[in-house]
C-alpha cells in the first residue's frame, strides 16, 4: 500500500544532503515522500526536481512551508502562491494568522507539528479548516524526544489534539517531520504507534498516512485546472 512520509525537511542548497536523506528512506523501505526545503524558497527549482527524479525510484512530491511572524508578512507572502503547483502549508502559533490561513483557499495545510504550536489549536480554527476543505497536520517528531519527561508531555499533547481533530471530523494528516536520520521511521511503523499509543483506530490511522495525503495531492493538482471554479463546480465545454 502507498503510505506517505508527508514531511521530510532537507537543505535544498545542498543536493548531497537531500540524496543522503532519500537514500536512508530507501533503506527503510519508504515509497512516497513529500520534501520540504529548510531554506526560504518561493518555489522548488525544476532542475532540482529533475535531478532528484533520476537519483531515486521513490515518488517525490514537494511542499513549501510558510512561517510568517505577523499577519502583514503572511498577506505579503501568500500573494506569490496563486496557482501554486506544489503543496503550501502554514505553520504559526499566531491565532490571527491561523484564522486567515484557514480561510485562504491557497493554503493546503495548517501545520501543528511543533509541540508549542500544537497547543494553539482551537475548535474555531478547526471549524474554518473544515469549511475550506483543507488539512491539519500533526507530527510524530515530538514523541521521539530523548528526555522521558518531555516525551510523555508531548505524547499527552499530541493525543489530546489528535482526539480533538477526530471528534470535530476535520481532514488531518500525520507526518514524521523528524530532524535526525536515526529518528526516521517507516509510515507503517508510525501507524502502529498512532493506533497503540495515540488511540486512533487502525483504519483512520492508515487513512492519515495514505488516503488523506492523496486527497491533499489531488487538491494541489486541481488548482492547476483552469476550468475548476471551486470544489464541485467545473466549466464543461463552451467557447
Amino acid at each position: 500500500m502507498k503510505y506517505f512520509e508527508s514531511r521530510l525537511k532537507a537543505n535544498f542548497d545542498n543536493i548531497e544532503d537531500i540524496k543522503e536523506k532519500i537514500e536512508f528512506c530507501e533503506r527503510l523501505g519508504i515509497k512516497n515522500i513529500i520534501l520540504e526545503p529548510t531554506i526560504s524558497l518561493n518555489t522548488i527549482p525544476l532542475d532540482i526536481k529533475e535531478n532528484l527524479k533520476e537519483v531515486t525510484n521513490i515518488n517525490l512530491y514537494y511542499r513549501i512551508n510558510l512561517k510568517p511572524n505577523n499577519l502583514t508578512t503572511f498577506k505579503k507572502k501568500i500573494k506569490n502562491y496563486n496557482k501554486f503547483s506544489d503543496i503550501l502549508s502554514v505553520e504559526t502559533s499566531d491565532k490571527e494568522i491561523q484564522i486567515h490561513a484557514a480561510r485562504d483557499s491557497r493554503v493546503d495545510i495548517i501545520s501543528f507539528s511543533e509541540h508549542d504550536i500544537l497547543k494553539s489549536l482551537t475548535p474555531g480554527v478547526i471549524s474554518l479548516i473544515k469549511q475550506n476543505n483543507s488539512f491539519i497536520e500533526f507530527s510524530l517528531a515530538p514523541i521521539m524526544e530523548n528526555n522521558k519527561s518531555f516525551q510523555s508531555k508531548n505524547f499527552r499533547n499530541t493525543y489530546r489534539f489528535l482526539q480533538l481533530a477526530r471528534k470535530l471530523n476535520v481532514n488531518y494528516i500525520i507526518s514524521g517531520n523528524f530532524y535526525d536520520l536515526y529518528d526516521y521511521r517507516h509510515p507503517r511503523a508510525m501507524i502502529s504507534i498512532c493506533h497503540s499509543l495515540l488511540g486512533i483506530p487502525l483504519l483512520k490511522a492508515k487513512a492519515a498516512f495514505n488516503e488523506n495525503v492523496q486527497l491533499l495531492l489531488n487538491r494541489a493538482k486541481q488548482r492547476q485546472d483552469e476550468n475548476l471554479i471551486e470544489d464541485g463546480v467545473r466549466l464543461i465545454g463552451g467557447k
Binding site: 529518528d183 511503523a189 504507534i193 493506533h195
Partner: protein
C-alpha cells in the same frame, strides 16, 4: 476428541536492523532492549499478553524474526519502532513484514535479502 482450549494465534514479524556498528551486539542485548521498550511504553498490562520470542537474529545480514501473539502485533511493532539505541549504539529496528506462519516469513526474508 475435540480440543476445547483453542490455541492462541501467533504472528511472526520480520524486521530490518539499521545501525552503524551492530555486529558486536547479541541476542540478549536485543531482547533486553525490546522488553525495556515494551515495559516503558505499554506497561505490564500489555507485556503479559505479548508472548515474545526472538526466533532469529542475523547481524551479518541485519535482519531478525520475532514471534508474538496476534492480538499484540501493533503493540510489538510500536515497541520495535520506538527503540532508538542498544548499548549506546544508535539503531533502528524497522518492521518489514508480518506473517502468520514461519514458512512465509522465511520466504519473505530470503526474497528481501536477495
Amino acid at each position: 476428541m475435540i480440543n476445547l482450549v483453542r490455541t492462541e494465534r501467533q504472528r511472526y514479524i520480520l524486521f530490518k536492523i539499521i545501525g552503524e556498528d551492530v555486529t558486536n551486539l547479541n541476542n540478549k542485548e536485543f531482547l533486553k532492549s525490546i522488553w525495556n521498550s515494551i515495559w516503558s511504553y505499554f506497561g505490564m498490562k500489555e507485556a503479559n499478553k505479548i508472548g515474545l520470542w526472538l526466533l532469529e537474529l542475523d547481524l551479518e545480514e541485519k535482519f531478525g524474526i520475532l514471534r508474538c501473539s496476534h492480538n499484540t502485533k501493533e503493540v510489538m511493532i510500536s515497541a520495535l519502532s520506538l527503540i532508538k539505541e542498544i548499548n549506546g549504539k544508535r539503531i533502528i529496528l524497522s518492521p518489514v513484514k508480518t506473517s502468520g506462519t514461519i514458512k512465509t516469513i522465511k520466504n519473505i526474508k530470503n526474497s528481501v535479502i536477495r
